[in-house]
């Protein structure tokens, strides 16, 4: 069987699973569902699977991408897998792996605030010409202006839709929270839901 791409959502309580937890959980779910994965060679073989753009702890998503190399499995893999997953993790679809995950250039997010007023305040802050946040990289902590890497798509009630750069550099909702913290006296809390990935041409990544 070829490389397969599973789309899954991570919602509710599963938002607090770390990337490693999710990998481990899928690994066991595949076994429970009777799906055999190709393993790496070597002294300590592990199943070949990868998740694009790991989510930060606490964020939810409806567009996660899991690529695996399947050796054998039933015709319908989605329902046995869903029966084998914990609350909040759910397979939405499976297809042959299409474009390479390296083509992911942007991610779109819905941020939900406590009130429409707070969402508006958030939107105002993000409209500033420059948004400098401290960014931790392998080379240490450096300031980064996230304004050029962020687009405000619109606001509907307490919900703000943003598009963030995913790649060089990657901007995540934690950086957005830092921008709020730097510009606002009162804390601005929100729940983050990743809606989709986009490629460089702003078309949905499939």
């Amino acid at each position: 069987m070829p490389e397969l791409r599973f789309r899954f959502e991570k919602r509710g309580r599963s938002a607090y699973l770390s990337h490693l937890d999710v990998m481990r959980t899928f690994q066991r779910a595949f076994i429970r569902a009777g799906i055999r994965l190709r393993h790496s060679e070597g002294f300590n073989p592990h199943p070949k699977m990868s998740i694009a753009q790991p989510l930060q702890l606490g964020c939810e998503s409806v567009c996660e991408v899991l690529d695996v190399s399947v050796l054998e499995g039933p015709e319908d893999m989605v329902s046995p897998l869903n029966a084998a997953l914990p609350e909040g993790l759910r397979i939405l679809s499976v297809s042959e792996a299409g474009s390479h995950v390296r083509e992911i250039a942007w991610s779109r997010w819905a941020l939900t605030f406590a009130s429409p007023g707070e969402a508006e305040r958030g939107s105002e802050i993000l409209h500033a010409p420059a948004l400098i946040v401290e960014k931790k990289t392998k080379r240490g902590v450096n300031p980064l202006d996230i304004a050029p890497h962020l687009r405000i798509e619109g606001r509907e009630g307490a919900r703000l839709t943003l598009t963030l750069r995913a790649g060089e550099p990657t901007v995540n909702t934690g950086d957005v929270a830092k921008a709020f913290a730097g510009a606002s006296e009162a804390p601005l809390g929100f729940r983050a839901l990743r809606l989709c990935f986009l490629n460089e041409k702003m078309a949905e990544f499939l």
Partner: protein, 611 residues
């Protein structure tokens, strides 16, 4: 999920420990259930979820119609602080409902140092600590597990303690509570009635008098409570519930694998070992039952490792057949099999090579004492020759790492016995030099010593513990005697062992000490990061109690001991006989060679034990 909780979860370490929602979790409609049962573990999620007993009880209780059993663990300090700061009370993982709203709150306690954890959890739940301060029928606070063979240090806090195995007992107590709730009994009425269920101990129904020197005079039952509380056991383990469809955590836990319990009890009779006595009589499962359970559990879990658990795995009669059967299923599926708790005297290389095809993990043996003289005193019937043979086999089979476990401060121990540990390690090294097929790889010999702790219901329950200074001196003596770079040495801190001993043999006056420790240290006293020796010592002092009275005093054979009401099946006469044999340096044969009449067989219908 609660918004306050959502706000703190991203800020704490490993938040998946606090959310529930794992595969296999049991969710019921709370409006449809009659009894809410909180199964609590006074340590972290990772430790608690590794406990097979907890999983068994979770399954058993949730099988009862109208009963919903949920889990509660002790949060790590960062989470505990964040919860307190946000005003979030301790909650159960399944429903997220506050612990204080539950009917039955039962703690599984396997380690004395987690006693403060129980109090910490009650405090975080906003539940009054002392049994007497809780007037209503609910919540009822109780505990079971290995530490309840001496429940006395917890007597002020627990409404009752469950003695022995919980599969049947917990269900009976739950059913009695269901009736109490339906009929609106008072708490006093319930406690009176529950005390008549075999295996239930209600501390408040016993009056304790003390002698002028501080020893217990007597403990007298009131209101029809029994004079002896006999431990409960499950007679037929083949028919007992085994949690096949158990919870599989998404986040990593300590024992992240399928655990298969081969048998309960132990035929050996090491005189320091509490489990070796309190888990009697020996009851084995059939290999066939185990094989079916293992396959089902592995299919359900998706785990890639199964571990055989028991006190002494190599004493399982059908071990060969079981391993054959398991390997036939496991090998093609890349599932590995691990065999802890092997003895040096019946170690089989063939077996080890078969089970460890994938990974060659290290081998561990527990001679417990360095000299034959001292091994005879403790009745660890393993000879130096056994150990050397096992190591010879292992090293020639390609193993290059061995761990050796010992105890310091055993009754009758001399400096020669301590130094004999170093000799033994050196001899193991020599064996490696003689037989290793690949000497260039080197060898790792790890010697670990724990401190002897007198435990209730063992032949050594009357002995004191060595002083802290003496234990430190012996550790140094041993360390200085082992100069070989291939031999490394690690030891348990005597500070923790001292407090552990006080709690193990303590009486109900220790309640005040536990409360003071809660105030000064919080819970998590089983963790080095939070254990505070000085805080414990001041808690004893401020309670007007002398910790040395508990730890450093030899108890008299005629003395009334705090756990004398508890009957685990083994008679005091047998424990005394074993103590006297140890004083003469004489060994006792294992139960298979000869029945010593310990008395535990009386717990079985027909009185025939399966040793």
């Amino acid at each position: 999920m609660d918004a306050l909780l959502e706000a703190i979860l991203p800020k704490v370490q490993k938040p998946a420990r606090y959310t529930g929602g794992e595969f296999g979790e049991i969710i019921k409609d709370k409006h449809e259930v009659e009894v809410r049962f909180a199964l609590c573990f006074p340590d972290t999620y990772e430790i608690g979820m590794s406990n097979l007993g907890l999983r068994i009880l979770y399954g058993v209780l949730n099988k009862l119609p109208g009963v919903w059993c949920e889990r509660v663990f002790e949060p790590w300090s960062d989470m505990a602080e964040a919860m307190t700061a946000s005003g979030i009370p301790l909650y159960a993982l399944e429903s997220g409902d506050p612990l204080r709203d539950f009917d039955l709150i039962g703690f599984s306690v396997g380690y004395e140092m987690s006693f403060p954890g129980i109090l910490h959890m009650l405090k975080m739940a906003g539940i009054p600590l002392r049994s007497g301060e809780r007037k209503g029928l609910t919540p009822l606070i109780f505990a079971g597990g290995a530490c309840m063979y001496n429940p006395e240090p917890m007597a002020d806090f627990l409404d009752f303690a469950l003695i022995g195995e919980g599969e049947e007992l917990d269900a009976e107590v739950t059913e009695l509570f269901r009736t109490a709730k339906r009929e609106g009994w008072s708490k006093e009425e319930f406690l009176r009635r529950v005390s008549r269920i075999e295996g239930v101990y209600v501390p408040s129904l016993y009056d304790v008098t003390y002698l002028p020197d501080g020893r217990i005079g007597k403990m007298t039952p009131r209101e029809g409570a029994p004079g002896k509380i006999r431990k409960r056991i499950v007679e037929n383990l083949d028919g007992a519930d085994y949690p096949v469809h158990t919870i599989i955590p998404s986040t990593e836990i300590v024992h992240d694998r399928t655990m298969l319990e081969l048998f309960r009890g132990c035929i050996r009779g090491c005189r320091f070992c509490q489990a070796g006595y309190t888990y009697r009589p020996v009851r084995a499962k059939k290999a066939e039952t185990l094989l079916n359970q293992a396959v089902e559990a592995l299919k359900w879990s998706g785990y890639e490792e199964v571990s055989l658990t028991s006190l002494s795995t190599s004493d399982f009669r059908e071990l060969g057949a079981l391993c054959d059967g398991l390997l036939t299923w496991c090998e093609p599926r890349s599932v590995s099999l691990s065999l802890p708790s092997l003895r040096a005297d019946n170690f089989s290389l063939e077996l080890m090579q078969r089970v460890q095809k994938v990974r060659k993990s290290g081998l561990t043996f527990a001679p417990e004492a360095g000299s034959q003289r001292l091994r005879d005193i403790i009745n660890k019937n393993v000879t130096e020759e056994d150990l050397m043979n096992a190591c010879r086999t292992a090293f020639s089979g390609g193993w290059s790492s061995v761990k050796l476990y010992f105890m310091l401060g055993l009754p009758g121990e001399t400096d020669e016995d301590v130094l004999a540990i170093a000799d033994l390690a050196q001899k193991v090294y020599q064996v490696w030099r003689e037989v290793s097929p690949n000497r260039s790889r080197g060898v790792r010999i790890t010697v670990s010593t724990a401190c002897f702790i007198p435990k209730p219901l063992t032949p050594f329950q009357w002995y004191p513990q060595d002083s802290r200074e003496e234990l430190v001196r012996k550790q140094k003596l041993l360390k200085d005697a082992m100069r070989n770079k291939a031999i490394s040495y690690s030891w348990h801190a005597p500070d923790v062992s001292y407090i552990e001993a006080a709690l193990a043999v303590g009486d109900r006056r220790l309640g005040q000490v536990l409360e003071k420790v809660l105030d000064s240290c919080g819970g998590l006293q089983a963790w080095e990061e939070y254990f505070d020796y000085d805080a414990w010592l001041s808690a004893f002092r401020d309670s007007g109690l002398d910790s040395d009275f508990y730890v450093r005093r030899a108890r008299g054979e005629e003395e009334f001991l705090p756990w004398d009401l508890i009957d685990d099946g083994v008679t005091k006469a047998h424990l005394l006989r074993e103590k006297h044999l140890s004083e003469e340096g004489k060994v006792s044969p294992d139960c298979r060679k000869q029945c010593l009449g310990c008395g535990a067989n009386r717990l079985l219908k027909g009185g025939k034990c399966d040793a």
